[in-house]
Structures are given as structure tokens and as C-alpha cells.
Amino acid sequence: MKTILSVLRKEVLDNLRDRRTLLTAVLMGPLFGPLLFAVVINMSIDRALSSAESVLEVPVIGAENAPNLINFLATRNIDVIDGPADTAAAIEAVKTGEHDVVLSIDADFGEKLSEGEPARVQVFSDEANQDASRDMRRVRGAVREYSGQIASMRLFARGVSPMVMRPLNIDEVDVSTPSGRSGILLGMMSYFFIFAMLIGGMYLAIDSTAGERERGSLEPLLSLPVTRDQLMIGKILGACVYMALSLALSIAAFAIVLNFLPLQKLGMTPNFGPLAAVAAFFLLAPFILVGASLMTLVASFTKSYKEAQTWVSAVLFAPTLPIMIVSILQVRPKFEFMFIPSLSQHLLLVDMIKNEPVVPVNIAVSVVTTLVIGALFMAISARLYRREGLLG
């Protein structure tokens, strides 16, 4: 035990003086996530808020043919501006992206309307253009609404209740809570946490194995009266210290950044106060052992520092894979998933942020299986360290 602590202490001290290890552990890993997150959230808030309330300017061809429609559009915050002269020019303008949506009203619009025949309104837009789709829906919705009003009035004029047109009353009830809506977006957080955690221990894991060998300090170390298991465990625990530091900083940075983001405007109120942040740390902490052992294991296999860097970077993405798959498939937390490290942490964390009840059994299973798998990796690394080929 004393030996393990000596190794641990030395690795922590040694890497504390290595600027690169320290910077990645305390700056790059923990801050990369929150900053990216802040930027992404801000951008989506801008987009979500800009459209509904702001004035949408739409060029209309033949506006003079339907003054009432134009007036109606104005009440829906859609202003008519000058635009292309004819439909050919309109198509061109939409294609080049000069305008997102162009309306065209036929010359016989008024005539058809008064005769009770369908009067044509053309809406030009590019369906492939994601940015334009919201504007397009707004314009189309407004025109439909206008059409609906006229239809109701016609029925009314004929003594028929407009209710005839509505055999069904569709009422959509969204049961997602504000915290629940946060879940999807904030699910990204667990990804960042795990990433920051792994990055924090990466250089130490490489330095204490492949680096040690490359430096020529491994052989004298192995000739000391200590077992290789003790050395290995000390080194893995050293990586754990840095990973815990990175994780804690990353969670703290997130908790702070979230305060400055106008998430309520997006209808999200994530449950991520100081208490939840602490809980998040302990929920994720068991994964530190898995990450540290896995990175050390991989780094011990390699012949040089550079080779180790390549392989360990690949390891950084392995734990994020289940998270991504689950995010894409939108699966609900299930008991079976609690046996998969990284995935179980992600699901539990998302539930907590969404303010949904977290099942204690799930937490227990997640913690225990993750620690067992971590210990297993640790044993494999130690076993690998006993090989003679280690010296290369």
C-alpha cells in the first residue's frame, strides 16, 4: 500500500510539472465542452427566437391582385416587399438563395375568388434549404389560415355552420416538462464529461507506461524490490487523480455556464444546481477507473510515446460510442443498459437532469458493474506489465 502511494504521489507530482499534461487536464478537457455547449445553445436560441416574433419580409408578385390577403399577412407579421418581376425570376431568386420564400398571386385572383373557384397562390421555396423551411412554413400557414377564413365565411353565407368542416377536433397535448425538454440537448453533457475525464488522464497514462519505457526509466524501476502489480496500480491511480480533477472542473464549468444561458427561453429548466453537480460527479466517478485502466492498458501495449498517443486517442472515442448510438435511437433507460459502463452513466445523468426519478437499483448496478469492469481492466494491465516483452 505504501509503495502504491509512493508511485501515485510521484506520478501526480511529475505530471503536475509537465505543462502539457496540466493544461489538458485543467483547461482543454474541462473547458472545451462547456464553451462549445454555450455556443451551440446560443445559436439555437437565436434561431428559435428570431423567427416567431420578428417581421418576415416576403417578396410578392402581383400583390395588387389581392389586397385583402396582403392585409391579412401584415397582421401575421409578414411584410410585403418588392422582389422578382415574374415567376421565372422568382424561381431563380429562390434557387440562388437571394430570397427564401417568394409568393406569387395570379392576375385573375380576385375574379376567381368572387366566382367561388379556387384562386391560385404560388409559394416558391427550396425544400432542401433547412434555414428557409421555418419561414416557408410560416408563409404557408398564414395563407392557409386566410383560405380557411374565406371558406368559413362562404359556408356561413350559405347557412351552413363552419363546424361541418371540422368533424374532428384535434387537441395536441405536450406532456414534456421544461426539464424533460432539456434532456435531449443536455444529453450532450454526459458526453463532454466523459470526454473531459478521459482527456485529463490521457497524458499521464501514456507517460507512465510508454513514456517511461522510451525514457529508459522503466528498467531501473523494475529492478527495485517492488512488484510490478504495485507499480501498475500506482500508475493507474495516478491517472485517476487527474481524471477526477478534470471531471470535477468540467462539471463545475458546466454548472456555471448554464447559469448564463437563457435556457428558459427554449422552454428548458435543467436540474443542474450545486447539489445535482455533486451528484453528477459521484454518478460518473466509477467510470474514472474504467477509463484510467483502459488507457493504461492500451498504452502499455505500444512501443513508443507516439504510438501510444495514436491508440489512446482512439480509446477516447470508444466510451462515447454507446452514448451516441443511444442518443440517435432515443432509447429510454432500461435495466439492462445499467450493465454497460459510460452508457449507464449517461442515462442516469440525463434522467437526473430531466428531474425524473432515478431508480436506486439502477444506480447500484451501474456503480458496481462499472467498478468491476474497471478492476478487470486493471488486472489485465497488471498482468501485461508482468511480461518480459515489456522492456521491448
Binding site: R17, E219, P220, L221, T227, L391
Partner: protein, 243 residues
């Protein structure tokens, strides 16, 4: 005292060491002499227990290096070939780390660290981080590190490699001091003059086999050469290369 009995070691198909036996007594300097790739390092690695022999056995003060390797390691201070230091730690911290790993108590750690720093004359740069140290300084710190637990046996693998004349001289003085303190010193080299100047006994190894061993005088006698270099060349030419 170190004794090696019929050690063999192969790496895949390469027979690095073939039936090597010799003794390195206390209070003497024994030189393991041989051309590059003769099996010197492999033999020494077996002795400081980082690799296991395929057959034969080796004893450090009577302790088997395979059966009780931890016990054997306590009795050995090893300076492997090209031993590296931790560049972000000071020389003192490098030495203290080894002292701690050897299980010394706090007072002994401080005491022994100070003693080795003085013994190897490194106090001048003891509290500087070791990155940027010269090869001579590095070798001294690495040696101090391996001597911190006061081992009775010292194994040095080509310690003078890459050292300039002054550093080599100073290292030679240190090795002589180790001998005078009654320790068993075993060191390898491929440099004839160095071995001749320093060693009491010489073991000449070629192609994984012991070609000749004995005191410097015995070797001159046996080969019939006055010049030690001629003796060396003649000795290694008698060994048939490994299959």
C-alpha cells in the same frame, strides 16, 4: 557476492546467452567484457531480475533471483544501460523516489539520500530538475538512485557509455570507492582499456558464451598474449557463433 550457474536465455530463435557461469566476489570489481551483442546485457538483466533465465540459476548473496526475486532485488543496485531519469523531478526527488519504493522509513530516506548525494558529488545540481542534465550528471544521479538503499551488490551495464574523459574518471573513482567499501561490483563494458584499468577479475563473453575468465594476469598467461587487447581478440575468436 554474485554467482551465475549455467544460465541460458533465448529470445525466439536467437540464443542470447548460452550456458554462462561465473562468480563475482565481494570486495572486488568483476568486469563483463565482450563485443556488442555478446549477451552481456542479457546476463545482467537476469541478475537484476527483469528477465528470467530459461535454465540455470543465479544467486545474489545466496538468494535465488527467480525464486525470491524481491529479496534478491533488495541486495542489488542496478544501473541498466541508458538508464533514464524523470526530467520533471529534481535529482534529489529522483533519488528519494527510489528510496521510498525500496521501503525505507522516513528518516532513513533523508539520511541515505543525503549520503548518496555526497558520495557521488552531485550536491551542486541536486535540487535542479534533471531535464537538460549532461550525460555525466545523469549517469551519476541514476547511479545514486540505485545505491540509495545501500545494496551490497552493484551491477552496472556499460556505465561509461557516452561519458567524456572527466566524467569517466570520476565514475571510475566512484566504482573504486564502492569496491573499497567491501561491495561486490559487476560491470559490463566493451572497452578493453577500461576493464583492464579497473577490474580485478574479467569474464570475457562472446556469442552468448564465456570465452575466458580469471584475473587480468591469468588471462594474459592463458592466451599467451602480453597485450590484453590481443588476448581479448584471441579469446573471442575461439567461440563458435550461435547457431
Amino acid at each position: 557476492m554474485i554467482s551465475v550457474e549455467n544460465i541460458t536465455k533465448s529470445f525466439g530463435k536467437v540464443e542470447a546467452v548460452r550456458d554462462v557461469s561465473f562468480r563475482a566476489p565481494d570486495g572486488k570489481i568483476t568486469g563483463l567484457l565482450g563485443p556488442n551483442g555478446a549477451g552481456k546485457s542479457t546476463t545482467l538483466r537476469v541478475l537484476y531480475t527483469v528477465i528470467r533465465p530459461d535454465s540455470g540459476r543465479a544467486l545474489i548473496d545466496g538468494v535465488d533471483v527467480v525464486a525470491s526475486s524481491l529479496e534478491a532485488r533488495k541486495r542489488v543496485g542496478a544501473l541498466p544501460h541508458g538508464a533514464g531519469l524523470y526530467p520533471h523531478l529534481t535529482a534529489r526527488e529522483n533519488i528519494e523516489y527510489y528510496a521510498r519504493l525500496c521501503g525505507l522509513d522516513k528518516e532513513t530516506i533523508a539520511e541515505r539520500t543525503e549520503a548518496t548525494i555526497e558520495e557521488l558529488e552531485i550536491s551542486e545540481f541536486a535540487d535542479r530538475q534533471t531535464k537538460g542534465f549532461s550525460q555525466g550528471q545523469r549517469t551519476k544521479v541514476a547511479l545514486a538512485r540505485s545505491l540509495v538503499h545501500n545494496p551490497h551488490n552493484v551491477i552496472l551495464d556499460e556505465p561509461t557509455n557516452g561519458l567524456d574523459v572527466m566524467a569517466t574518471r570520476s565514475l571510475r573513482d566512484i566504482i573504486l570507492k564502492l569496491k573499497d567499501s567491501g561491495r561486490c561490483v559487476l560491470f559490463s563494458s566493451h572497452i578493453m582499456q577500461e576493464v583492464a584499468a579497473l577490474c580485478d577479475d574479467i569474464v570475457i563473453i562472446a556469442a552468448g558464451k564465456v570465452a575466458l575468465q580469471g584475473s587480468t594476469d591469468t588471462i594474459r598467461e592463458r592466451t599467451g598474449c602480453d597485450d590484453l587487447e590481443d588476448a581479448f581478440v584471441q579469446a573471442i575468436s575461439t567461440v563458435e557463433p550461435a547457431a
